[in-house]
């Protein structure tokens, strides 16, 4: 399986020039790729385009040659920098997990989610704990690609290491593709096989 960005262009404002201009990238399953680059160059926007949260103005995002289906479970799952914004504050954590249908519940233990957290509200958990839920939820059976957009930026390094170790193991076991968006070069080299600098590929 492969995820492909085919000459995509995107801008938030019609009057200004494109933020992302004519970007073509290919990601294969089993591959771990880091996208690095300065802020304001559209790394997060690229993540949203690849996972179908935004539609490109020009060009297409293709999964195995077909465009992403806007309905149904998306095989490309995005994990966001701020877990507290990705979870409905009125849900209990059990409901949060139930949103991902067919979730393999053995992942909960591996990722370090404790049974008693399931009855709590999001505000009663810390950022690191919430992020575990977001990761668990993104790892539903249909997921083939995982995009981590500054997933561990707000966490302390110990929690960061713990979370990444689980993600790497799970991605390897299922032979998923992993795209890591980060500003931390140490993290990129530690986690990924290939590193792409967005400022080098934008606009050609």
């Amino acid at each position: 399986m492969q995820l492909e960005a085919n000459k995509i262009c995107f801008g938030y404002n019609r009057k200004e020039s494109y933020l992302l201009n004519n970007i073509s990238l290919t990601f294969k399953e089993g591959e771990k790729v880091a996208i690095v680059g300065p802020s304001g160059y559209g790394k997060s926007t690229l993540a949203k385009l690849l996972s179908g949260y935004l539609a490109p103005v020009k060009g297409r995002v293709l999964l195995d040659g077909k465009p992403l289906n806007p309905k149904g479970v998306c095989p490309v799952q995005l994990i966001y920098q701020h877990p507290e914004k990705a979870i409905n504050p009125r849900f209990r954590m059990r409901q949060v997990l139930e949103e991902a249908k067919g979730l393999d519940l053995t992942i909960l233990k591996k990722i370090g989610i404790e049974e008693e957290w399931l009855t709590r509200f999001p505000r009663e958990l810390s950022g690191g704990e919430l992020q575990r839920f977001c990761v668990a939820r993104a790892l539903l059976p249909e997921a083939r690609f995982l995009i981590a957009d500054e997933m561990s930026t707000m966490l302390d390094v110990i929690t960061q290491a713990g979370l990444w170790n689980v993600v790497l193991e799970e991605v390897k076991r299922r032979n998923m593709g992993l795209i890591v968006i980060t500003h931390n070069m140490h993290l990129a080299t530690q986690v990924c096989d290939r590193i792409i600098d967005i400022s080098a590929i934008n606009g050609f």
Binding site: V73, Y80, K85, A86, N88
Partner: protein, 271 residues
């Protein structure tokens, strides 16, 4: 005792007073407000708390019955109105731009016409009486709540967790029921309760003007308008007590809404 406990007790107390008033009005028999010329035009006393009118009817009993009707009208009309507001607010925010602008235009239109005139017209068109009045109040009071809910839904739709839910394969229906509607419940309840006083006052004023409930019903508006004729003959109590109790009930509903609002407000958790 902390602020929330005080508020909670106050809220329960107000609710109790309102419920008791309503039940008292229902339980008072027709005999209590029957015509009795031997006791006509009595001043307020222990036996007749609010005095009697020119036909000898006990004013206290009539006032309680009137309040009971007022509360019924207020609750039913506001409930219908609030439901209309939620449906229209969500429809407006969730559908296409064209429908959204049409709905906004209607909201402006309803807001632009003075409520009293609109209620009188609708009530008249529906053949006066309780039904006409209920419809009249219900179709005029939903606008501001609908706007509030529309804005809320528009804001909610851009939340990241809703986009995530969609990518996890959830349908629009699921998102509406699990993410959007529960979020609206506090707005709905507070909006509903704060609508009561308006509805009650409008009911009273339309009835006072003679376009609302029929004269046989002991509504506060009717009592007030009838007593106008007798004010000049020194029977001050005819207008004073029913007016005072009406204002009190309106005030209680208003406090109830405010209390609920600050109890539900998430920011009040941090103190």
């Amino acid at each position: 005792m902390n602020r929330r406990q005080k508020l909670l007790i106050l809220t329960i107390l107000i609710t109790l007073i309102i419920v008791c008033t309503y039940l008292a009005g229902i339980c008072i028999s027709e005999e209590a407000i029957a015509v009795d010329f031997t006791n006509a035009k009595l001043k307020p006393s222990l036996h007749h708390l609010f005095g009697t009118d020119w036909l000898g009817r006990d004013l206290f009993a009539r006032t309680m019955k009137g309040l009971s009707i007022s509360i019924t009208v207020g609750v039913v009309a506001s409930a219908i109105s609030a439901i209309i507001a939620v449906l229209i607010g969500i429809a407006s925010a969730a559908s296409s731009k064209v429908i959204d602008s049409i709905i906004n235009w209607v909201i402006d239109l309803v807001m632009g016409v003075p409520h009293l005139i609109l209620i009188i017209l609708i009530s008249f068109a529906c053949g006066r009486g309780l039904k006409g009045l209920l419809i009249g109040i219900a179709v005029t009071h939903w606008t501001s709540l609908a706007r509030l809910i529309r804005a809320e839904v528009l804001g909610l739709r851009t939340e990241h967790y809703i986009a995530v839910s969609r990518k996890l394969g959830k349908s629009n229906g699921f998102i509406l029921i699990h993410h959007i509607l529960p979020h609206m419940i506090p707005q709905f309840i507070v909006g509903l309760v704060l609508m009561f006083p308006h509805a009650i006052l409008h009911e009273a004023s339309v009835s006072f003007l003679g376009y609302g409930l029929s004269p046989e019903q002991p509504a506060i508006g009717i009592i007030l308008s009838e007593s106008m004729k007798y004010l000049s003959s020194g029977m001050w109590w005819l207008a004073f007590f029913p007016g005072l109790t009406l204002v009190s009930i309106v005030f209680l509903f208003d406090r109830l809404g405010d209390n609920l609002k600050s109890l539900i407000d998430p920011y009040s958790a941090q103190e």
